[in-house]
């Protein structure tokens, strides 16, 4: 009896396990079948649309058969938030999906690992209908992989008239690549001031000095801090999004140099501006005025930890209402006070140049496998989201529950609202980022008021006001990096290797003895050029010579 039981258990266990394996295989194979049938649809559809060019079927009464569109959404790991199924995705399905007979299916893309996620989805043929990225070079990389289909502007204008009206100029200006209409965009107001630099006011008081406005003044402050036994200047490791060179550009920016060297993805090692920058930090490092272990600060958390624990006296970050920087700082040192600081990393003979965002937000491409009907539904979805009432709902939630309007007509969030229509931790940004990058009330004054209300931690409202004033004063010094209308192929080929070499070289240049600086810098410049930078510079120069870039005014 007992033996029989054992046998039965073994059999059932084996059966369950094999069944689950088979089921898993079956699941994946059936989905791949679905994907491939989708792609045959699209090829068939394309040829038919070519023959009946410029005539689009009107679906405003809804699709005759159920259409499924897959929309990507960044998963930032917010606690208690299901990115693909929540109050707002259900609302979207209810309001848009049911009306037009469309299933709006959200696909989670992990924010910290997005390129890898996308690449795997593309390889498996299951990528969502929109393939997006915040920066152009990676979007171009997706395009070069063959994952994005060219779009037809007439078709967008037909299915998404309001979206097209908002974005036509941006799309026509920036959306072309190698002569094809590759990308569509979300709107972005390039005037931003939410990245703030702060300095320890109580340390300044202790040494009897004012908030520094140039690198030279900052150096004096840091020397006084050192004598008083306080901390150093905070610094992170420059390993991506290279904007370190901007403050050192000098009195006037050389247009050709700026177009050639300023690149978020590839550090401008051999530019004389970079040399001046590294030289300055070499001096600071050797005098013991900057964080001596800055090269360990590979992420924001490391720098933040040093700031709140009082090791360094400066910090820079995107301010938000629920930031823990100030509360942690106060918990460690109840006397700590912070002040807004600007220009402390800019030499007196230069200007506060900064990376200015281009006029577009999210860069989006339509998946190669997306069929005609899905594409139409997609455009209709963008158009629906562009409607002010829908956008407002996604950005603020339910009036009277999530927020109340104040006398300026601005939504004031209800404190600690925890109802079912609670917004995600970044105010549902990852849903409405398809059409707009920042909440915009169409008026700078109103935007400022709203930002102070929505972004400033309590008691720190002055930081946003100061950041606004400073950004306003520096408006002339924003530089948009050059956008080429053809793919810079050498950049995709070498950028990862160059990044590794840059980090190695620049850390050596900053940390070496002052008398060794020139030799170290020269050595790494040569190596950097040999490792592919020369090719990138040559390719960019020839693209500029043939005019394959977007001219900024």
């Amino acid at each position: 009896m007992r033996k029989a039981m054992k046998k039965a258990a073994a059999v059932s266990l084996a059966a369950v396990m094999s069944a689950s394996v088979l089921a898993a295989c079956g699941g994946s194979s059936s989905s791949s079948v679905a994907a491939s049938s989708g792609s045959t649809d699209s090829t068939g559809g394309e040829s038919s649309s070519e023959s009946t060019a410029a005539e689009f079927t009107d679906y405003s009464a809804g699709f005759p058969e159920r259409v499924t569109i897959e929309i990507p959404v960044y998963d930032r790991g917010f606690e208690g938030w299901n990115v693909t199924d929540n109050y707002y995705t259900q609302w979207i399905q209810q309001e848009f999906g049911e009306k037009y007979n469309v299933d709006v299916k959200y696909v989670a893309i992990s924010r910290s690992n997005e390129v890898q996620d996308y690449m795997q989805l593309i390889a498996a043929g299951t990528a969502p209908d929109i393939i997006y990225h915040y920066d152009m070079p990676q979007a171009v990389a997706y395009y070069n992989e063959g994952a994005i289909q060219p779009v037809n502007y007439d078709e967008i204008a037909f299915y998404a008239p309001d979206y097209w009206a908002n974005m036509q100029e941006t799309i026509e200006t920036y959306g072309k690549l190698d002569g094809e209409n590759a990308f569509i965009f979300a709107a972005r107001n390039p005037f931003q001031y939410t990245y703030v630099n702060v300095i320890r006011q109580d340390w300044l008081d202790q040494v009897g000095m004012e908030v520094p406005t140039t690198l030279e003044e900052m150096t004096e402050v840091a020397k006084a801090w050192k004598e008083a036994g306080l901390g150093t200047i905070g610094l992170n490791l420059w390993q991506n999004s290279f904007t370190f060179a901007y403050p050192f550009i000098g009195e006037t920016a050389d247009q050709n140099d700026v177009s050639l060297y300023l690149d978020l993805n590839v550090a401008s090692m051999t530019w004389d501006v970079t040399k001046a920058c590294l030289q300055a930090y070499n001096t600071l490092y050797n005098e013991g005025l900057v964080d001596p272990e800055f090269y360990l600060n590979t992420d924001d958390a490391a720098w933040k930890a040093k700031f709140v624990s009082g090791e360094v006296g400066t910090y820079a970050f995107y301010i938000s209402k629920n930031t823990d920087v100030f509360s942690s700082l106060k918990a460690n040192d109840p006397n700590a006070e912070v002040a807004f600081v600007s220009g402390y990393n800019v030499p007196a003979d230069s200007h506060n140049y900064y990376y200015e965002y281009p006029a577009y937000g999210m860069v989006m491409g339509v998946n190669t496998n997306t069929s005609d009907e899905e594409r139409a539904a997609l455009y209709m979805f963008l158009n629906w989201m562009s409607q002010p009432e829908n956008l407002t709902f996604l950005q603020n939630g339910v009036e009277g529950e999530n927020y109340n309007l104040n006398e300026d007509g601005l939504p004031v969030p209800v404190a600690d609202f925890a109802g079912e229509s609670k917004l995600s931790n970044n105010n549902n940004k990852d849903y409405w980022c398809l059409v707009q990058e920042t909440v915009d009330y169409g008026d700078e004054e109103l935007n400022l008021k709203a930002n102070i209300m929505n972004l400033a931690p309590e008691g720190y409202e002055n930081l946003i006001q100061a950041a606004y004033d400073s950004a306003k004063a520096n408006l002339d010094y924003g530089i948009v990096s050059t956008i080429y209308t053809k793919a810079v192929e050498s950049s995709a080929e070498y950028s990862a290797d160059l990044k590794a070499l840059w980090v190695e070289g620049y850390v050596k240049c900053v940390t070496c003895k002052p008398e060794e600086f020139d030799a170290t810098y020269e050595e790494y410049c040569q190596e950097y050029l040999d490792a592919g930078y020369q090719e990138i510079l040559d390719e960019k120069q020839s693209l500029m010579d043939e005019g394959a870039y977007i001219k900024m005014d």
Binding site: V11, A14, S18, N144, E145, A147, L237, E293, E504, V507
Partner: protein, 315 residues
Amino acid sequence: MKKDTISVAQKTAKKNAFAVYMRDNWQLYAMLLLPMLHLIVFKYLSYAGLSVAFMDYKVAKGFFESEFVGFEIFEKIFKHRDFGVAVRNTLLLNVLDLIFSFPMPIILALLLNEIRVKWFKKTTQTMLYLPHFLSWVVIGSVAYQMFGLSNGVVNALIANAGSSPIPFLQEDAWWLVTYVIIGIWQTMGWGTIIYLAAITNVNAELYEAAKVDGANRWQQCLNVTLPCIRSTVVIMLIMQLGKVMGGSFERILALSNAKVTEFTTTIPVLVYRWGIQSSKFSDSTALGLFQSVIGVALVLIADRVAKKLGEDGLL
């Protein structure tokens, strides 16, 4: 005629025996199906992916539509400026590991074998196994807490003792030393298991005979235990040689920083940088394939040499 019937009878008997055997034991075979399936799907079918090394692979085009380019990718990676450095560093780090980390479990197993107090032996063993279960990410951050220049515990002690701090992880030569030592610490306990098992198989009579001949503990260890576990040591060595061109990527990622870059560019690091960071899957696969081929060659050569020297070998 008669002969035939007999042979038929024998055959049916044989068949019956097999059927009986299967009827009694088929569950065991059913249980085996799953691991076999796992092996086939994840270890053998994935070999097909190596074809990427011979194509100009584009993810959206997939295996069948990407262009076949023969050995072009290999030519490209062999010419890459980081390739030579990576091979040098990989060999350096792994040979150092082989010299310093490989003997440690053997020595430790011999020492543990001499401990007679049961509970002490058990406790020591457990504590030695523990590091094996820590991920390199955890070990890396603990290492920086311990050996960091400005915040490290060890350097705080050194500073209090009046000496100047030592850049354990922040200078190339010191980093190499720390890398090897942390590696030894992490692997030595777990490595003892197989040697301890081999030691328990040593015939007790040999020890008695040695005692009668007047051998002390040290001499017993040298002349009885070591020769008896020699074949195990050789097999472990052969398997270790297969890893000389590979090595742990996480270990380098967790322990390196931007200041120490002299020895950190290894083959696995390049595979990660090309394959994951810049999505150059062909380059990365080709490099991985190169590494595996060298690894297999080393194992085969070592196996031959071991057999020539009169050992059993691995294959």
